[in-house]
């Protein structure tokens, strides 16, 4: 399983990277962590003529507070997010999700920018970004563009990024003392892609939940917010009745396709189970 031949460039500045991309966009692929890209190259599922290695671009791997936002550089590694105090404090959903991503050796290399650009519907970061109402910052030769996460993930492996755009950062609103979050996923083995997963955030005030964002992974082409279920729980306490009511309307939100091992019915059922567990966790 040897990759097909390709040319390789390692630009030193974002401008250089964008120029290369502009010249070659259809036949070039961007290399960030490489944990998905190089696997697909080794399996000959992709044959780009040029690989543009982004890892020398300065200043894109930081995790910092800027005003009311946590700004995470596109090249920040999963492991860095997993261990970051800032993330744990200000975006705890991400800290909860990180350990579920593959295994440590992969997390040492993989980047959040790469994960978002790849838009695998079973990946953790896309659903988290949608749940957190994060903003994806993309740069092109024309300048910067801010894309709300809810509009970023279009379809299977398809994002709102233009062919000549590179993600540079993710901006996440800060959690506060009323914020609650839970990340649950069902996997047959540790580190596998989720069969079904849920990224859940809410505000909790006097045991009632509001501004719930319940976003599923592994149930469609892209992260799926369970809007009817969210509405059913809005302002309510997480009682068994309220949870059951939300579970009952879940099929209005989700029509998960079958995967290799699980029927559509099983996926929907598991999504319902996760809903109950996530909401119970939010209410704690």
């Amino acid at each position: 399983m040897k990759a097909p031949a390709f040319a390789y460039a390692k630009p030193r500045t974002l401008k250089e990277a964008l120029a290369l991309l502009g010249r070659h966009d259809e036949n070039a692929r961007l290399l960030a962590g490489g944990q998905s890209l190089i696997a697909s190259l080794n399996m000959r599922l992709a044959s780009p003529s040029l690989l543009i290695d982004l890892n020398a671009l300065p200043g894109l791997d930081g995790i910092e507070l800027r005003g009311r936002k946590l700004v995470i550089g596109a090249l920040a590694r999963h492991r860095a997010l997993e261990r970051s105090e800032l993330v744990a404090q200000h975006a705890p959903l991400l800290a909860q999700a990180a350990p579920h991503i593959a295994h440590v050796a992969i997390r040492n290399a993989g980047t959040i920018g790469g994960s978002l650009a790849m838009a695998d519907p079973a990946a953790e970061w896309p659903a988290c970004c949608v749940a957190l109402e994060a903003t994806i910052v993309a740069a092109s030769a024309k300048g910067k563009r801010r894309i709300p996460a809810a509009q970023f993930f279009k379809s299977l492996y398809t994002t709102a990024l233009a062919p000549n755009e590179i993600i540079t950062a993710v901006e996440v609103p800060l959690a506060d003392k009323h914020s609650r979050s839970a990340f649950l996923e069902l996997v047959r083995r540790r580190g596998d892609y989720a069969i079904v997963g849920i990224a859940a955030v809410a505000r909790r005030s006097r045991a009632a939940l509001s501004r719930l964002r319940l976003v599923y992974l592994g149930v469609g082409d892209a992260p799926v917010p369970a809007t009817n279920a969210m509405a059913a729980l809005e302002g309510k306490r997480a009682t068994p009745e309220a949870i059951a009511a939300a579970q009952a309307v879940l099929e209005q939100d989700l029509a998960p396709p079958a995967d290799l091992y699980h029927s559509a019915a099983a996926k929907l059922h598991l999504a319902r189970v996760l809903l109950g567990r996530a909401v119970a966790a939010l209410a704690l």
């Binding site: 399983m1 040897k2 990759a3 097909p4 031949a5 399996m43 000959r44 649950l184 996923e185 069902l186 996997v187 047959r188 083995r189 540790r190 580190g191 596998d192 892609y193 069969i195 290799l260 091992y261 699980h262 029927s263 019915a265 099983a266 059922h269 598991l270 189970v273 567990r277």
Partner: protein, 807 residues
């Protein structure tokens, strides 16, 4: 991931201290029975092993294969011209070209009556019969260049009807090989006298149908071969990750028409095998042929995607089973109808009929009963070929036996352990002949059962299960008693005409400095064969273990033998080595007696010296024996010739198979909302006779258990209706990881075989044989409050949710 830990109430597993040999170990002297760490493991720990892919030879070429994308298709056009011109490409061959150097084979054996299979070529000619079958070979200076060239192969196909479903295959709606008449590779019908009557008279008959998903071995090192033909002497040296180098020597010789002694097969370190690497693979035969054709060394390593497409698969069965018993719990008999599907060819040379044959031979094994009927159909399909994989047939035979036994126990309202106690063959009933004709020398089912129940605190677990059920926590306990075939005689293959040796030999040589080198025909794949041979040899000769070196896996230097398969390395190779070592010791004493001018019976060898037998006083260090024997024989009596190299062979003769027995238990927690099962703990009590190295044996058992758990819970080769493998990568085919695997408690009973002085039976496959049955029973035990059962493995959440009626 089930987000409950579920382990709060379970006591921690006993820490794996290096275990002691069980009581009654027959040869409890010297190093036998000691948990000596493997000297051979040191270099592996340092990354200084030497696997076949590590090998570099001058002018080494690499072969890649153009493989059929279709499950069944005629090759209408195959043009290799452009591919052959690509950078780095040395040659491109189709099946016809290879066939001029490598003759085809037919995998049948005379003792599997009626078995049939069409001839198979190293590279397919005219027609591909499974997705992944090689139809052309490209040879290049590097693997990458070879793969680049594959894209330039021009092929046109005419798709043919595809058969993937086993019932469809049996119906002969579409016959894959019209010249054979039907899709049946092998069938067998067996019935004891008076069967119908006995079943009619039984109080209770329970029936259930079980399904087993096709899965595969997944060796971490892919199949690997470097073939090096020397045109100057018409000789072929093959470095191959194989379990049976002498078998391969014979096969290369016959099919490539090279005199047998001119073929040398050498096994380097092998990265896992479990039976996968004991078979003949067409692409490996093609590699050897190409070396002859090009007169240079050629390497082929199966990459992971190729492995899933072409490494043998195994264990796809659907079995309808009935058990008849009386209300007092006495089993009257078993009845089974086994349908199993293989690939489009029976695999050479051991045939793809053996696995099903074992199911027929072994079902009901631990239990006293006289009535037995079995029907077997082994059918061809257009999926990958199948053949023997660790524990061959046992995982199915044990699972169906133990599940139907549990079902009967449940029906009669008898505790499963008690039901087994009433029916396991008594420990004093031996020798015992089984309804299918197999003979048991001596087993210990009851001792093992007693030990297991105590070890796992069966009563305590039942009480805990009851308590937790009230809290809506659903735990299950499953038992699986088993028998296992080890140390086979020629009854397995030789009698059928296969040139597969059931005997083994060991040469033991005293070196001039007093070290001992042994060369043994059994091979090492990591289980510790060479380590136990060091122990046996050191004990037999009387030297300290660090003085012993072991060489295996080289047809040019070791005695002729069978290699490793069917758990025979310790029992057969070990015995040959024990006898050789003892004979060397005797020869050393002859020489020492001549030097010292004393009666040899007053002497013995121990701790690297010839000593006075009575006092232990050292009389002559072995280095002196070596010096005199090799450099100063002029100082010995005129007619005395020192023989400091001895070879002995051993074949088990009394029993066609030396059966072992054991019993396993699984403790699980089922999440009825998600259908997920957490494996909390596993136990195995095993009787393999003399235990040479308890630590190695226990680790073999654990490894075997985890492979069995993999088949029970996770592993399945999924095919589409068009015969396309859907999950042929390690991302999609799920093997167990450390995070999902339970601690496994192992204990032993020891009933040495009397057929050899060593008394060792085999154990390498036992873990795999019993684990799926134990797990199935545990899951069904957890499901008892719901009144449901599962019968098809792997036991995925999908299947469990369906059984529960949640979807």
């Amino acid at each position: 991931m089930n987000d409950r830990t579920g382990l709060e109430l379970l006591a921690p597993a006993p820490r794996a201290e290096k275990p002691d040999a069980p009581a009654k170990t027959r040869v409890s002297i010297g190093y036998i029975g000691q948990s000596v760490p493997r000297a051979g493991a040191r270099r592996l720990l340092q990354g200084r092993g030497s696997y076949t892919d590590d090998l570099k030879l001058p002018r080494l070429a690499h072969v890649v294969f153009f493989r059929s994308p279709y499950a069944h298709a005629r090759i209408r056009k195959l043009d290799l011209t452009i591919a052959a011109r690509q950078p780095g490409v040395l040659a491109a061959f189709d099946g016809r070209a290879i066939a001029e150097y490598c003759t085809p084979w037919v995998a049948v054996l005379a003792h599997l009556k009626g078995i049939k299979s069409p001839p198979q070529h190293a590279v397919a000619i005219e027609r591909a019969c499974w997705q992944g079958e090689a139809v052309a070979a490209i040879v290049a200076e590097s693997r990458a260049q070879g793969e680049d060239a594959l894209a330039h192969v021009e092929a046109e196909w005419e798709e043919l009807p595809v058969v993937t479903d086993m019932d469809d295959a049996l119906s002969n709606r579409s016959v894959i090989h019209p010249e054979l008449g039907d899709n049946i590779c092998f069938k067998r019908d067996f019935v004891t006298e008076g069967f119908e009557d006995a079943f009619a008279k039984a109080d209770v008959v329970v029936e259930e149908t079980y399904g087993f998903g096709r899965h595969t071995g997944v060796t971490l090192e892919g199949r690997a071969i470097v073939a090096d033909y020397n045109a100057g002497e018409h000789s072929l040296t093959v470095y191959q990750a194989t379990q049976a180098p002498h078998m391969m020597q014979d096969i290369f010789s016959r099919h490539l028409n090279i005199p047998e002694a001119n073929v040398r097969v050498i096994c380097k370190d092998v990265g896992g095998s479990y039976g996968i690497k004991v078979h003949v693979y067409p692409d490996e035969m093609a590699t050897a042929a190409i070396s002859v054709m090009l007169r240079r060394p050629v390497k082929f390593i199966a990459d992971r995607l190729e492995s899933f497409l072409t490494d043998i698969h195994a264990r796809e069965h659907k079995v309808k089973v009935r058990l008849a018993c009386m209300t007092d719990g006495r089993i009257i008999g078993f009845d089974l109808d086994d349908l199993t599907s293989i690939g489009p060819y029976s695999v050479y040379p051991r045939t793809s009929g053996i696995e099903g044959n074992q199911v027929v031979n072994l079902t009901g094994g631990p239990y006293a009963h006289k009535n037995y009927r079995a029907k077997l159909n082994v059918v061809f399909t257009n999926k990958n070929v199948t053949c023997q994989y660790r524990a061959v047939g046992h995982p199915i035979a044990v699972a169906i036996t133990e599940a139907i036994v549990d079902l009967a126990a449940q029906k009669l309202g008898i505790d499963p352990a008690e039901f087994r106690r009433r029916n396991l063959i008594p420990d004093d009933a031996y020798p015992y002949t089984f309804p299918s004709g197999l003979k048991f020398e001596q087993l210990s089912h009851h001792q093992c059962l007693d030990k297991l129940l105590e070890l796992m605190d069966y009563k305590g677990l039942r009480a805990e299960q009851k308590r937790l059920r009230e809290k809506k926590v659903y735990r299950g306990i499953g038992l699986a008693a088993m028998i296992e075939v080890t140390n086979p005689s020629p009854a397995f293959y030789g009698v059928g005409g296969a040139r597969i040796s059931a005997q083994d030999g060991a040469t033991v040589r005293l070196e001039p400095t007093g070290m001992v080198t042994c060369l043994v025909s059994v091979t090492e794949q990591g289980q510790g064969t060479e380590a136990i041979f060091q122990q046996i040899c050191a004990t037999a000769v009387g030297v300290s273990i660090d003085k012993v070196r072991v060489i295996t896996g080289d047809t040019g230097t070791t005695p002729y033998g069978g290699g490793t398969w069917a758990s025979r390395g310790a029992g057969i190779g070990g015995e040959a080595l024990l006898q050789a070592g003892k004979a060397l010791r005797a020869n050393i004493l002859e020489l020492a007696a001549a030097v010292l001018n004393v009666d040899k019976n007053a002497l013995d060898v121990s701790a690297d010296a010839v000593r006075d037998k009575a006092t232990g006083e050292a009389k002559l260090p072995l280095a002196e024996v070596g010096r005199i024997g090799y450099f100063r024989p002029d100082t010995l009596p005129l007619k005395f010739q020192a023989e400091l190299t001895v070879t002995r062979h051993y074949t088990p003769r009394e029993y066609g198979f030396t059966f072992t027995n054991g019993i396993q238990a699984s403790y699980v927690e089922l999440d009825p909302d998600t259908g997920f099962v957490k494996l909390l703990r596993h136990w195995c009590v095993e009787d393999c006779g003399t235990v040479i190295n308890p630590m190695l044996v226990d680790e073999q058992i654990r490894g075997g258990v985890v492979q069995g758990l993999g088949g029970a819970m996770l592993e399945e080769c999924l095919y589409s209706d068009e015969g396309q493998l859907l999950n042929g990568s390690l991302a999609d085919y799920l093997v167990p990881m450390s995070g999902d695997t339970p601690d496994i408690v192992v204990a032993h009973i020891s009933t040495p075989t009397r057929q050899s002085e060593l008394g060792a039976k085999g154990v390498g496959e036992a873990g795999t044989a019993g684990a799926p049955g134990a797990v199935m029973n545990a899951i069904n035990d957890a499901l008892v409050p719901f009144g449901k059962r599962v019968t098809v493995q792997p036991f995925t959440p999908e299947r469990i949710l369906k059984a529960l009626g949640k979807i």
